[in-house]
């Protein structure tokens, strides 16, 4: 057999195998290193700090776990959250993340490596991303082969869609969940392929870990049953499926019910009913198979018809009945919003107000996945070509996740692994075909070997970089690869006629494709690095800007204000802010908050929204009734920080309106022309709202007579700013981003604070007020 380029001869298969195995290990180690390193931009550019909002709660909970032990954490009632209600943290949290960090922390300390718990938390996500790369490798290996696995591992290691949720410091549930997702899927495929109860149980154990770690476990809960159902519908029922599914479902469900936050949901909510139904169906199908082996076919057919009818009626009736009775909870709002993207905006403004719950903009797909997004369909098509049981899984996963990713930005994360797997399958098939040195046996069409000399350096490059694959290819001769099948399937030549010689001739045809692919891969790496360093590595607690000389200037207003609260207010001082900042205040300022990012109590949040959006006189009793000492607002007008409270204000109004439609009405906050303004033309309600007053209090004075411009909204503010009677400015951070106000106590003389204030300023009491009363008496 002729080859396009010389291959080493005289190697024993054992040598080739061992080299390939070593190269694979080295490649995986390098991929892990790249995955970890690319997530460290945030630490290098900023510092080892916990990012954003939710991670601050996870971090705080982990500190409790690490310092007080697991049982204390399990029974932790946090009186400082949701003041005055408090929060049962142990029962309302997915503890997997904290437990993981706690275990790592304790192991390191037992080994006399006294690492700070913060560093464990910060570096957990990068560490687990390396494991994700490995799990993806194992998963893809089941789909195609090792080379596709390595490609998939490399993709998932650096793809921005996953990095966006797992940079160092992004200490959130997703940090470990994607690894668990991929590993559970791998175990499931393994269990399905081998019919192994062991792998089914391992899948169940990792499923349990996943349930303990992330609410997205429902994806697995529905993915695996769906796969099983499709297999059954395609008539692919086998005992391997039965063993794998049953061992996973029984063990996994029982285990998942041990998580307090999940509790009896696996047997009582609609989201989990699919898994239960498929479990029941499997039993019926297995029983049917058993009966069929003992009965004649006519008897069996009539039995089957009757049986199916009865079981179908009974099952549906039971499901509907239980749902109506309330034993099975209907689908939650979050799930409805997956079917109807407008649902949340109409009925649950809290869910809709979160930016990551918005539908995905199409450039986001390219930004997060780059060239994988067009390799992905090719990979799915290749799965269709072969269509083994496990390929069906990828197809279903791809279809579902594509839909979800289109509906919600944050579900892009669920799509990313399958995109990596499918793209790796496609790309590795391509590379397999074009690196494969065998040439078709058509002597007269052979290309002269003169091109060899000119292309040998490039060839050296390609061969070294793809040595793993070459070595793998050099071992056993490649039999029927998916690509040859593809060529066979799409070839215009009709079957029956003798197959013409097909394949690639010469080195140049190979090089064109391989070099193209390589350059695409290079661009992918550049793109990933750029996106990661620019878009996804900002802690959002700390903002960066550039000095005039180009050096980095850190804007640290959040921590400045939070630390001030922590050091200079009483420990019991209750801080009211919009819920976005609840976790940060609890984590950094260590003070009780009214509402936080847990958003479990809509009314409480609406109360805060009402206080923020109504006038001082209306808000003051609310503040006093909730023992609020300090009110914190975020104001970006001076610096041009667009994520401030005035821009979020309409959500506060909407949420408050949902509970008090008579008192708060959204249209009142717009100008008659329907504009949202903060300048002279702002509506009266807007100008009188507590949020407006707190944001712009004394802001105009800062400009010393010049035009006071709000840089976020690009509007000129009135010269005379709002005044406050019921609140005092307590602290304003350096760039005015965080403003903290102290709520005044009632006037000791029993006056209302407005007149007391006016009296102190030496203003005469207006006579106009009592007069009408007198007239009325007269």
């Amino acid at each position: 057999m002729s080859t396009a380029y010389p291959l080493p001869t005289g190697l024993s298969p054992a040598t080739v195998n061992n080299t390939a195995s070593l190269l694979r290990i080295v490649a995986l180690a390098l991929i892990s290193g790249a995955a970890i390193a690319s997530r460290l931009f945030a630490v290098i550019n900023f510092e080892s700090i916990i990012h954003e909002f939710d991670p601050w709660f996870n971090y705080r909970a982990t500190k409790v776990l690490a310092s007080k032990g697991f049982y204390e954490f399990w029974n932790w009632f946090d009186p400082t959250a949701w003041y005055p209600l408090g929060r049962v943290v142990g029962g309302t949290v997915y503890p997997g993340l904290m437990a993981t960090s706690g275990v790592i922390y304790n192991i390191l300390h037992a080994l006399n490596l006294p690492v700070d718990i913060r560093n464990v938390c910060v570096l957990l996500a990068p560490g687990f991303s390396a494991l994700t790369a490995w799990a993806t490798y194992m998963f893809t290996k089941e789909m195609k082969d090792e080379s596709a696995g390595l490609l998939a591992a490399a993709f998932i290691g650096i793809v921005p869609g996953y990095i966006s949720r797992s940079v160092a410091g992004s200490y959130d549930n997703e940090a470990i969940a994607i690894f668990l997702l991929m590993f559970t899927f791998f175990c499931w495929i393994k269990a399905l392929k081998q019919g192994s109860a062991l792998f089914g149980t391992i899948a169940a154990v990792f499923y349990f870990y996943m349930v303990a770690a992330w609410g997205g476990y429902v994806f697995i809960t529905n993915m695996i049953p769906l796969h099983a159902l499709v297999l059954m519908l395609m008539g692919r029922f086998s005992h391997r499926l039965y063993v794998g599914y049953c061992s996973w479902y029984v063990v996994g469900t029982l285990a998942s019910m041990q998580v307090p936050f999940v509790g009896f949901q696996p047997v009582s909510t609609s989201e989990h009913m699919g898994a239960l139904g498929v479990f029941g169906l499997l039993q019926i199908v297995a029983f049917t198979q058993f009966v069929r082996s003992h009965l004649s076919s006519t008897q069996f057919r009539s039995l089957l018809n009757v049986g199916l009818f009865v079981v179908g009626i009974v099952g549906t009736a039971a499901f509907v009945g239980l749902t109506v009775k309330g034993t099975i909870a209907p689908w939650t709002g979050r799930f409805y919003s997956l079917w109807d993207t407008g649902y949340a905006k109409k009925y649950i403004p809290i869910i809709a107000s979160v930016s990551e719950h918005q539908p995905t903009a199409w450039p986001a797909f390219f930004m997060d996945l780059q060239f994988l997004i067009f390799l992905f369909p090719a990979g799915v098509v290749m799965c269709f070509l072969e269509l083994r049981d496990e390929h069906l899984f990828v197809i279903i996963y791809a279809a579902l996740a594509s839909y979800f990713a289109g509906v919600m930005v944050r579900l892009m994360l669920a799509l990313t692994p399958v995109v990596c797997v499918a793209s790796a399958v496609a790309l590795s098939s391509l590379l397999d075909t074009y690196i494969d040195p065998t040439e078709p046996d058509v002597a007269e069409e052979q290309v002269p070997a003169s091109t060899d000399t000119t292309t040998s350096p490039a060839q050296a490059v390609t061969t070294t970089s793809k040595k793993a694959k070459k070595a793998a290819a050099a071992g056993p001769p490649p039999a029927s690869t998916p690509l040859t099948n593809l060529i066979a399937a799409t070839s215009p030549v009709k079957k029956g006629s003798p197959p013409p010689p097909k394949g690639i001739f010469g080195i140049d045809a190979r090089l064109v494709v391989v070099l193209n692919t390589l350059s695409m891969l290079f661009f992918f790496v550049f793109h990933c690095t750029w996106v990661t360093s620019n878009a996804y590595s900002s802690p959002s607690v700390v903002l960066a800007s550039q000095n005039q000389d180009g050096s980095q200037h850190i804007i640290d207003d959040f921590r400045e204000a939070y630390y001030w609260l922590r050091q200079n207010t009483p420990e019991t001082a209750v801080v009211m802010s919009w819920w976005d900042y609840g976790y940060q205040i609890a984590g950094m300022a260590d003070r009780p908050t009214l509402v936080d990012n847990n958003t479990w109590n809509n009314t409480h949040i609406a109360t805060v929204g009402k206080a923020m959006s109504s006038s001082e006189e209306v808000a003051y009793p609310i503040l006093r009734k909730h023992d609020v000492d300090y009110v914190l607002v975020i104001f970006g007008g001076l610096l041009g920080y667009s994520g401030d409270d005035i821009n979020k204000f309409l959500w506060m109004v909407r949420i408050a309106q949902g509970v008090w439609p008579d008192e708060i009405q959204e249209p009142n906050y717009f100008t008659p022309q329907g504009e949202y303004r903060v300048d002279d033309r702002a509506s009266q309600t807007m100008k009188e709202s507590l949020m407006y007053k707190m944001s712009y209090y004394r802001f105009a004075e800062l400009f010393g007579g010049q035009q006071a411009t709000d840089r976020v909204r690009q509007q000129v503010l009135p010269k005379v700013g709002p005044t406050l009677d019921y609140l005092d400015e307590a602290f304003t951070s350096e760039n005015w981003i965080v403003r903290i106000y102290q709520v005044r106590k009632e006037d000791p003389l029993g006056r209302d604070l407005k007149s007391a204030n006016a009296f102190e300023k030496g203003k005469k009491r207006k006579r106009s007020k009592p007069q009408p009363r007198r007239r009325a008496v007269a």
Binding site: E47, S48, I49, N112, L113, P114, V542, I554, D556, R559, E560, A561, Y562, Y563, W564, R566, Q567, N568, G587, M588, R698, E701, L702, D728, E729, A730, F731, T732, S733, E734, W736, Q742
Partner: protein, 488 residues
């Protein structure tokens, strides 16, 4: 002092006067008080004359109140660097004053004179008055002290000077009942100085009669234009690493502005206006300059919620050992927020320094000697509670140390950190009320044998070896139950 036993006290006073009153006479006593924030320096010059020529022990009396607030006390002969040995006598609560014996360099012949200088540092003696101030207000402090410097010996002339940093006194006490000692005005104020005295022919004043009759408190009320800083808690951990040839110092500092408490609220607008017009309020601390040792590297400054990026370090190169140098690395440190009156700020400051800058090896007895500074002085601040932990290398033995002044308590414990197996000896020293005068060095000497040095590499190597051995073993064990299937 209980008034039930005046005779007893009178007799005891006479006895003490008889016991020591005869050997010396003070020709003049001049006390200079440098009024400050939380730290007040007092320099008292005793011009003494020997009457008998037999004793070389001169006794100094300090009232109980002052002694309680005095954190540093040093006696010198004028013009000499060497401080004289002092010995404090046991306090007799009935007397109300402390006696300190100073051993003079040699016995003073009859009628010879000597100028003895007593330097003391008082802490926590000033109080803001008024106790609250608005953001733009001035800051004024009150300081109270005794009018007379009491002494067991008769004094020919005595005066007390109080000097402030700015020539703005609000008020001062005019002493009463001093006609016996002076005919002029008992107090004169001019510019930044207030002088009490001169008072002439004061008898031996460590008597109950004198104290109850003439001794009185004088109070001055003055403007102070620097923030009054206090460090209620300071913990310094110094870790010596021979493997890294590194001396890591880490200070956990709790800073408190002990000036007048902020009245009303902090307004950023006013603060920015003040700093724009370069008229910062005197009690607002917005930046702090610290002198860290020369040759430091990897300095870090963070607090409970992370790194603070608002500081500048100008590191000086380390000074060679044989050269006398007083180079410092200057750290300009800005707290996260300006520190107004009554506000707190806690943070951590640390740095690495080359070990060879502060350690040396003694060939004769095979011991290492390391010099450890007790604290980095904060300008004008008092450290109320200080803890110094010196962590020696793992396996250090024969630990000895010498202190420049005694610590409240000294303990030796064990500290376990990275790659340790048995832990490192850690010396803990506790101090109270440290000031700039206490910024001295502790010398710690210890022996480390070579085998102790090799503990770490061995431990790490053993750990890795066991992991790999386990992996090798695990690869070669077949745990498959069904051996037949495997064979197929």
């Amino acid at each position: 002092m209980p008034k039930i036993w005046p005779t007893v006290l009178f007799f005891s006073g006479v006895v003490s006067a008889l016991a020591s009153g005869q050997s010396f006479e003070n020709t003049a006593i001049v006390r200079t008080v440098e009024l400050g924030g939380s730290v007040v320096h007092v320099t008292t010059t005793y011009a003494i004359k020997s009457l008998t020529g037999v004793s070389n022990i001169y006794t100094i009396a300090i009232s109980h109140d002052e002694r309680e607030h005095t954190s540093w006390l040093e006696a010198k002969v004028k013009g000499q660097q060497q401080s004289l040995p002092t010995q404090e006598r046991a306090f007799d609560a009935t007397k109300g004053y402390h006696l300190v014996d100073v051993t003079l360099p040699k016995t003073l012949p009859v009628n010879k004179t000597l100028n003895l200088i007593l330097e003391t540092v008082q802490t926590h003696v000033t109080h803001p008055c008024p106790e609250t101030a608005r953001q733009g207000d001035d800051q004024s402090l009150k300081y109270a002290t005794n009018l007379f410097v009491i002494s067991p010996y008769a004094t020919s002339v005595q005066r007390t000077k109080l000097r402030a940093l700015t020539p703005r006194f609000l008020s001062h006490t005019t002493p009463e009942n001093v006609k016996a000692f002076t005919n002029d005005a008992p107090v004169t104020a001019s510019g930044a100085t207030i002088v009490y005295g001169p008072y002439n022919d004061i008898p031996s004043s460590t008597t109950h009669a004198f104290i109850s009759e003439h001794q009185q408190l004088i109070t001055v009320h003055y403007h102070h234009e620097q923030p009054v800083l206090e460090v209620p808690r300071l913990k310094r951990v110094v870790e010596i690493s021979h493997w890294g040839s590194n001396l890591n110092t880490q200070d956990d500092i709790f800073l408190h502005n002990a000036g007048p408490t902020l009245k009303g609220h902090f307004s950023r607008l006013d603060h920015q206006t003040q700093s724009y017009f370069k008229r910062p309020a005197p009690h607002v601390l917005s930046a702090l300059t610290l002198h860290l040792p020369a040759g430091i590297r990897n300095a870090y400054y963070y607090d409970l919620i992370g790194n603070v990026s608002t500081s500048k370090l100008r590191a000086a190169a380390s000074v060679p050992k044989n050269q006398q140098g007083s180079q410092f690395s200057i750290l300009e440190l800005r707290p996260r927020y300006p520190l107004l009156g009554g506000w707190n700020y806690s943070f951590t400051l640390g740095w690495d320094a080359p070990l060879e800058d502060s350690a040396s090896y003694d060939r004769h007895n095979g011991k290492y000697i390391v010099e450890v500074p007790i604290l980095t002085p904060f300008p004008g601040a008092v450290v109320s509670d200080a803890e110094l932990v010196v962590i020696l290398p793992e396996g250090a033995s024969d630990v000895e140390f010498s202190l420049p002044f005694p610590a409240l308590s000294t303990t030796i414990g064990t500290h376990i950190t990275y790659l340790d197996t048995t832990g490192r000896p850690a010396l803990t020293f506790r101090y109270k009320n440290l000031t700039v005068r206490h910024a001295q060095n502790i010398y710690v000497s210890y022996r480390v044998v070579t085998s102790a040095h090799l503990k770490k590499p061995f431990a790490v190597a053993a750990a890795f070896f066991s992991v790999f051995a386990l992996a090798m073993f695990a690869r070669r064990v077949n745990v498959t139950l069904d051996q037949k299937k495997k064979a197929l």
